[in-house]
């Protein structure tokens, strides 16, 4: 069980770390000028040249495989609700690493989403 919690911790850290690195990279890249194919391609070109993008991708890939291993170790009714904690860890990361202004309404919303995902997942969704 210690291994499960250790891997769950690694999953939460890598998933959040990857998405925070990706967010950091995208913020540094700047918005696409327009939502047209040419501008989006230019935007993607700028994004893949950003180092943070390449920090985020392996971390997200690691978190995906960590989730697969967790699913092979424990029942889905434990893994998916537990992985919903990434919403809370992600919000903490957004507040303290990305310096986003997370107000009370956003916190309440995140906690409700987290509990909601746990409740939905307890019925074991077949796809996600």
């Amino acid at each position: 069980m210690i291994g499960t919690f250790l891997l769950l911790g690694l999953f939460l850290c890598s998933s959040t770390g990857g998405e925070i690195a990706m967010t950091y990279g995208m913020k540094a890249t700047g918005e696409p000028e327009r939502l047209r194919p040419k501008e989006l391609l230019k935007f993607l070109g700028r994004a893949v040249c950003n180092g943070w993008f390449w920090v985020g991708i392996p971390l997200m890939a690691f978190s995906f495989y960590a989730l697969l291993i967790l699913l092979s170790w424990q029942p889905i009714s434990f893994v998916i609700p537990a992985s919903a904690l990434s919403n809370v860890v992600g919000t903490l990361g957004a507040k303290y690493i990305l310096k986003e202004d997370v107000n009370a309404a956003r916190w309440v919303g995140v906690v409700l989403v987290c509990v909601g995902v746990a409740l939905v997942s307890l019925d074991s969704i077949p796809l996600r």
Partner: protein, 133 residues
């Protein structure tokens, strides 16, 4: 764009699931994996699924470039609610009260987050990019 992100992610998952179901269980042997790889790269449903997941990634990256991570992340969970509605409407599945409570909580949570300011951090100016480039 957030809605497109959620739709692309769910459609991609659904198509991958359907594509992999036609291939069958993958054997963890050298020849089994090679056979599964050949079947995967020649399956149009899987390619369509990959295309949708690519669409999800582009939408996700674009949304992150203009909105807070703590704003985008809970919105992604809206997919659970969409999946439940789709399952009820198209697959006529019965949904337990516990799952409905979960869906309602997700919707309220997403609405609450949606009412906050999408971006609370500084906007990167094009001039600043030129200086650092």
């Amino acid at each position: 764009m957030v809605l497109a992100m959620v739709v692309c992610a769910n459609a991609g998952d659904l198509l991958l699931k359907r594509g992999m179901s036609t291939i069958g269980a993958v054997e963890f042997t050298g020849s089994g994996l090679a056979h599964a790889f050949r079947l995967t790269v020649t399956n149009p449903t899987i390619w369509l699924g990959i295309l949708f997941l690519l669409g999800f990634m582009i939408c996700y990256m674009t949304v992150l470039s203009w909105a807070d991570y703590s704003y985008v992340m809970p919105a992604g969970a809206f997919g659970y609610a969409v999946l439940t509605f789709l399952a009820v409407i198209f697959l006529h599945e019965s949904v337990s009260p516990r799952r409905w409570v979960g869906v309602i909580l997700i919707c309220i949570g997403v609405l609450l987050v949606g009412q906050t300011k999408p971006r609370t951090t500084e906007v990167v100016e094009p001039q600043a990019e030129k200086v650092t480039a």
